[in-house]
């Protein structure tokens, strides 16, 4: 079972860059039948603004800016790292992955290994897990990159998904520190749900062709093509409500904590309704559960936990006991308990094109 305790490893810095195009849901009224319907969605789901990228900006660009800002602020350089891990579902190329592109661009040394992984909304927890393992075995410092630009694979006329997702790229520094407190992780997977969220065509099973690009309209009136991101909303919600409360309880027990001991429960910011549903199910105190990230930036896939920390807890994330929890495509989910110490948290940055 992936139930692991780490000693002597900690997060030391976090940086998040969002897309530079801000879309307000009030500018998309034409897609809704009535004003009342839109109001209800704003109130419950938390629709408000989201930040997405232009066609020519990629996850790589967002992550690169997040790293540069982080290096500026902390004084770290590429020479200080023994590994880079990139986790994205929207890489620049099918091969090689973004970790290798970044490694080349910023001149990381040959002894710094590049690792590319592919996951969505659980990717921060899975990335931390990998980074903590590397630090425990050999690495002094690891650079973790999480990000996605899902807005590029959802039709704007797909109102089930388009208003949900925002684009974001993040950089996190994880390092060995003899004085770090113990950290606890639990991770789980369920491949039987692999098609509840998926991109049907464009890979090697269903290669891209004219048919897979053809726009269709589903029974709810949403426009999509087979190369778009697909999500079975009701089933994904069932999964969330069935699996997220138990893993959090399991983690509290594993880390010898109670709800009262924890300062913040930072969930994947899927949307306001989902975060509140989990918090309500567990009777978590509302003040301990950041929830407003979605209404500002949208659901940023694996970058959302980092974005929530940068936007809501910027000066309030050090010397805290926190639980971070991600869940999504795969299906894949995980949670970790950390006692933070001297973490440099950069404020949210908006992407700026260089030159």
């Amino acid at each position: 079972m992936a139930k692991v305790k780490f000693n002597n490893v900690k997060i030391s810095a976090l940086s998040a860059v969002v897309g530079d195009i801000c879309i307000n849901i009030d500018d998309e009224k034409q897609y809704y039948a009535t004003e009342k319907q839109l109001l209800r969605l704003k109130k419950s789901i938390g629709f408000n603004t989201r930040y997405v990228v232009n066609k020519d900006v990629t996850t790589y660009d967002l992550c690169l800016q997040a790293i540069k800002e982080l290096f500026n602020k902390t004084g770290l350089t590429s020479d200080d790292f023994d590994a880079i891990i990139s986790i994205t579902q929207t890489p620049d190329y099918k091969m090689p992955g973004n970790a290798h592109l970044i490694h080349g661009e910023l001149g990381f040394k040959k002894d710094c290994i590049a690792i590319d992984l592919e996951l969505g909304c659980s990717s921060f927890i899975y990335g931390l897990f990998q980074a903590f393992m590397l630090c425990e075995k050999f690495a002094k410092r690891v650079l973790l990159l999480n990000g996605d630009t899902l807005s590029k694979i959802i039709n704007i006329k797909n109102r089930a998904d388009a208003p949900i997702f925002g684009d974001c790229g993040c950089a996190t520094v994880i390092e060995r520190d003899e004085k770090a407190s113990d950290s606890y992780f639990i991770l789980k997977s369920d491949g039987s749900g692999s098609k509840l969220m998926y991109q049907k065509a464009g890979g090697f099973r269903n290669p891209s062709n004219e048919e897979t690009k053809k726009e269709k309209i589903n029974e709810l009136g949403n426009t999509y093509c087979d190369e778009d991101f697909y999500m079975s909303g009701g089933d994904v919600f069932t999964f969330t409500l069935t699996e997220q409360p138990p893993i959090l309880k399991e983690l509290l027990e594993f880390s010898h904590n109670s709800i009262d001991d924890i300062d913040y429960f930072i969930f994947h910011q899927a949307n306001k309704f989902i975060v509140e549903s989990i918090a309500n199910n567990l009777n978590l105190p509302i003040g301990k559960v950041p929830v407003s990230n979605f209404s500002k930036y949208g659901n940023q896939s694996g970058a959302s936990i980092i974005s929530a920390i940068c936007s809501e807890l910027q000066n309030n994330f050090s010397d805290k006991e926190v639980i971070l929890q991600g869940f999504g495509i795969g299906l894949s989910w995980g949670a970790c308990y950390l006692k933070t110490n001297q973490v440099t948290v950069l404020p949210i940055q908006i992407y700026k094109k260089e030159g």
């Binding site: 109130k43 909303g233 009701g234 089933d235 069935t242 549903s277």
Partner: protein, 72 residues
């Protein structure tokens, strides 16, 4: 929880101004959309310790069906 309280909770989830009774057919409620179904799922599973799925919620016909399942 009695039937009156159950209906009050359900009306809160729907955010509806329509009159809801135990006989009301779910498909006749304007606000009975996926958002309401998810809210109902969260409510039933938590308050009545059930393990329903989204598919189970879609199979209910009336408010009474839900109350029966919840044992109200």
């Amino acid at each position: 929880m009695d039937k009156t309280e159950f209906i009050k909770k359900f009306v809160d989830i729907l955010q509806t101004e329509s009159n809801i009774t135990s006989e009301t057919k779910l498909e006749d409620i304007e606000e009975w959309d996926s958002l309401s179904k998810m809210g109902t799922l969260a409510f039933l599973n938590k308050d009545f310790n059930l393990n329903l799925t989204f598919g189970d919620i879609e199979k209910f016909n009336t408010v009474n069906d839900m109350m029966n399942k919840a044992g109200v």
